[in-house]
Amino acid sequence: MEQNHNEHSEHTEHNHGYGVYILVWLSLMILTGVTVAVAGINFGGLTIATALVIASIKTYLVLTIFMHLRSETKTFRVFVAVAFLFLVISFILLFSDYSFIVRN
């Protein structure tokens, strides 16, 4: 009975097809092309922001599709979100601290 249940949950797990992965790969390649093309144009301070936004979109695609976060349970998504949150907090705190040192 228990084993039947295990097998059942294994099969209901969302199965990503080959097509989805190839589509994501194509998007990643196109986004890489866009980053390289955009880097040649001078947007001033926005140049690095553009590069980072594109890199974040690529990361989101890799996390959700390649790393299966989309088909994992909510626990996993919360798990990863909390880790990212703490990374962002440490970035913000360090940068605010550094800008304070620079200004004084």
Binding site: H16, M29, T32, V36, A39
Partner: protein, 206 residues
């Protein structure tokens, strides 16, 4: 007694726990590289002009090519998991082998890139480099440490995937038990994500 009999007949497996453990490890990697990205940001702010000047020495074409290689290797890794789920054992092994080939290609490019730099006398502690302004010394220091550590991760990934190939061939990894392959995949995709950020930050500042 009956529970002992049960455990003998049915090997305990916790795939969700295994994947969660792998994610936990990846978070430590995130902190490792995150610290370096903070270092990079502060120095880039401090030496903005020198970073722009120094980055001109890096070959954007090689960098772009390597990005494409690594993204494609991430694809083949993901495909190998789908293949094993669908009981296509040899196809899965083929995709894993392709991942290793692409990763090796990445490292070969890195080798040529680094030796070209060495040839121009640009390596940590070299006279040519030390004669440059402080900002450029810092840029190349960060370049060698960050891409070097990333390269080390690529090499570890190759060894890991080679083990997965063996496990798939011997039937340890099979259509209803592939969490090892999934974990190796998670590691590989993280290495890819780190490169997604390294690439624009080092090669695309003009």
């Amino acid at each position: 007694m009956s529970s002992q009999e049960h455990s003998a007949a049915h090997v305990h497996r916790d795939d969700v726990g295994a994947r969660m453990g792998m994610w936990l490890f990846l978070f430590t990697e995130l902190i490792l590289f995150g610290g370096m990205f903070i270092l990079y940001s502060v120095y880039r702010y401090k030496y903005a002009d020198a970073f722009h000047l120094a980055a001109k020495d890096l070959n954007t074409i090689v960098g772009t090519f390597n990005t494409a290689i690594l993204l494609t290797s991430s694809l083949t890794m993901a495909l190998s998991i789908t293949a094993i789920k669908r009981k296509q054992k040899s196809l899965s092994i083929f995709f894993q082998m392709l991942t290793i080939v692409l990763a090796s290609g990445f490292m070969v490019n890195k080798y040529f890139e680094w030796t070209a730099k060495f040839h121009h006398g640009i390596y940590p502690g070299s006279e040519t480099l030390l004669a440059k302004p402080a900002g450029e010394i810092v840029f190349f220091g960060l370049y060698y440490v960050m891409t070097g550590l990333h390269g080390l991760h690529v090499i570890i990934g190759v060894v890991l995937i080679a083990f997965m190939m063996r496990f798939t061939a011997t039937g340890v990894i099979k259509s209803d038990s592939y969490v090892k392959l999934e974990s190796a995949g998670l590691y590989w995709h993280l290495v890819d994500i780190i490169w997604i950020f390294l690439f624009p930050l080092f090669y695309l500042i003009t």
